[in-house]
Amino acid sequence: MRIIEAENLTKKYNGFTAVDGVNFHINRGELFGFLGPNGAGKTTTINMLTGLARISGGRVKLMGDDYTRNPKKAQALMGIIPDESNLYEELSGRENLSFCGALYGMDKKNREERADQLLHQFGLEEAGSKSFKAYSKGMKRKLTIAAGIIHEPEILFLDEPTTGIDVAFARQIRSLITNLHEKGTTIFLTTHYIEEAERLCERIAFIVGGKIVREGTVSELMAEAQEENLVNFALEGDFSLVEEDFRKNFPDYDFTKMKNNEVRIHSPNAFTLLPLVSFFEKKGLPVYEAKIIRPSLEEVFVKVTGIELKKMKNQKEGN
């Protein structure tokens, strides 16, 4: 079942088109990633989907109901975690969670129980009574995520959840996102970290200049970028000894010798590994490793968008 459907979604500010007719959908229980550089239109898209920005064109549906002109009716089903931790500095962690629950109409008993449960789940039990301003950046991020799910939304919007926090906390947050996804939460994630998108998301859309330039599952995106099939064989002996026989037996395959005992075999068609392994075995060169080489998502992204990843990362982090 489709939770969110965006059709020809467009946002214009004073003649500037920030998001230009994007189309995508998110299925129930899916973790969908929006990957793009700074200013690509990721946050604007989230803002339109959640009702924080007015939609200039196109429409959005939540579980089949059009809410383009009335986002308020959809907001109860959404959890929104912005790219900055925007809870109340003067309130404690527990009070912040309880207050956020109240905004969604949860009664006192329910929201206090749920706040305690989330503090436990997010490893913030001890910090629950401390004021938010005393939290570290990573703790603030975790509590902001907890605040976004206190009302158990149908869909969670996560805008750049690990930007600007240290490695250890980023790992914890990725693990929390994975846990939420495993428990069935539908997640829309924007990020400029390609490895984060690759590791977490089931489907990804690349957005550049307000347009989706490619969309698909991680394997679909990689397959599309793969011009030929490659497999590396590590052998217990020198490949040169069987080079001629290899050509005769496998005329459709090309190869590159990497080292004396390592060869990379190229083919325009998909490989069947068994005949190759058998060939080497018969020739007295047992195979101790066979590895299919696929392009990384990073290579796919660079190829599709022409954007250097390092530049994108530095730009986002202000380096």
């Binding site: 500010y13 803002n47 959640t50 009702g51 924080l52 920005a53 007015r54 308020k72 009716k73 907001q75 109860a76 959404m78 929104i80 912005p82 900055e84 925007n86 809870l87 109340y88 500095e89 003067e90 309130l91 207050f99 956020c100 109240a102 905004l103 969604y104 109409g105 949860m106 009664d107 605040a147």
Partner: protein, 244 residues
């Protein structure tokens, strides 16, 4: 029903976070005392506390409500915590009423601080307390919505302060509290009648000293109109400027 849980919690949070803080409580106590003292010291003749009371009450409300609301909303906008409220599944009207309810209550409480002081200094017999309460509520509502209008018109906290004074100080001198309306220069009188505080102060003068000059029902009607207009314009501005 569920929306009221959000309404009450926004109100309670604002009361705790902003209005019940010691600096605000002390402001509510010091402000009327300072104004009263100022008149005692400045006036060459004996000053009747009862004559001062409508003015001190009206100004306590005006300053108490506009100062806090304009600053707190602008501050929450800057820290982006206000986005959290805009994303909550409650109507914008109810949200803004929840944000302003704290300032209105604070204004009403502030107004009665000088009444308590005055009660120790002079007799307040003959005062129409129902009318006093009505006018206090209406002045608090219009002043709060004026604060809201200021908050949605600026983007920085310091701008909120400056813009508040732009409205407040002319009101002090043009609302007829210290200089009777009929004694103001003719070209300033239309300005006086365009200010909501003029009508609130006049009701207070009628209720406490029976010396107001404008019809009380008309004043209430005009205060209600000012409130509705300021609130509607603020909501329009929030929709236009904050939901891009």
């Amino acid at each position: 029903m569920k929306a009221w849980i959000a309404f009450l919690n926004i109100l309670m949070k604002d009361m705790r976070s902003y209005y019940l803080k010691p600096p605000n409580i002390s402001w509510g106590l010091i402000f009327p005392v300072a104004w009263t003292l100022m008149f005692f010291l400045r006036s060459p003749v004996a000053v009747e506390v009862r004559d001062l009371l409508p003015g001190v009450m009206a100004l306590s409300i005006l300053f108490g409500t506009t100062s806090m609301l304009a600053v707190t909303i602008t501050f929450e906008r800057k820290s982006r915590s206000f986005e959290r409220l805009l994303l909550a599944p409650i109507s914008l009207n109810l949200l803004m009423l929840a944000k302003t309810a704290g300032a209105i209550i604070f204004g009403v409480v502030n107004a009665f601080v000088p009444v308590i002081f005055a009660g120790f200094m002079t007799s307040l017999s003959g005062t129409n307390w129902l009318m006093v309460f009505g006018s206090v509520v209406f002045i608090a509502v219009t002043s709060t919505f004026l604060g809201l209008f200021i908050a949605v018109s600026v983007s920085q906290v310091f701008e909120a302060q400056t813009f508040s004074n732009f409205f407040r100080f002319p009101m002090i001198f043009l609302c007829g509290l210290f200089i009777p309306l009929q004694d103001l220069p003719v070209f300033l009188q239309p300005v006086s009648y365009a200010l909501p505080l003029t009508y609130g102060a006049d009701i207070l003068k009628t209720a406490i000293n029976d010396n107001g000059i404008i019809s009380v029902p008309l004043s209430f009607l005009l205060l209600a109109a000012f409130s509705a207009l300021l609130f509607a314009y603020s909501i329009y501005n929030v929709n236009r400027k904050w939901i891009h």
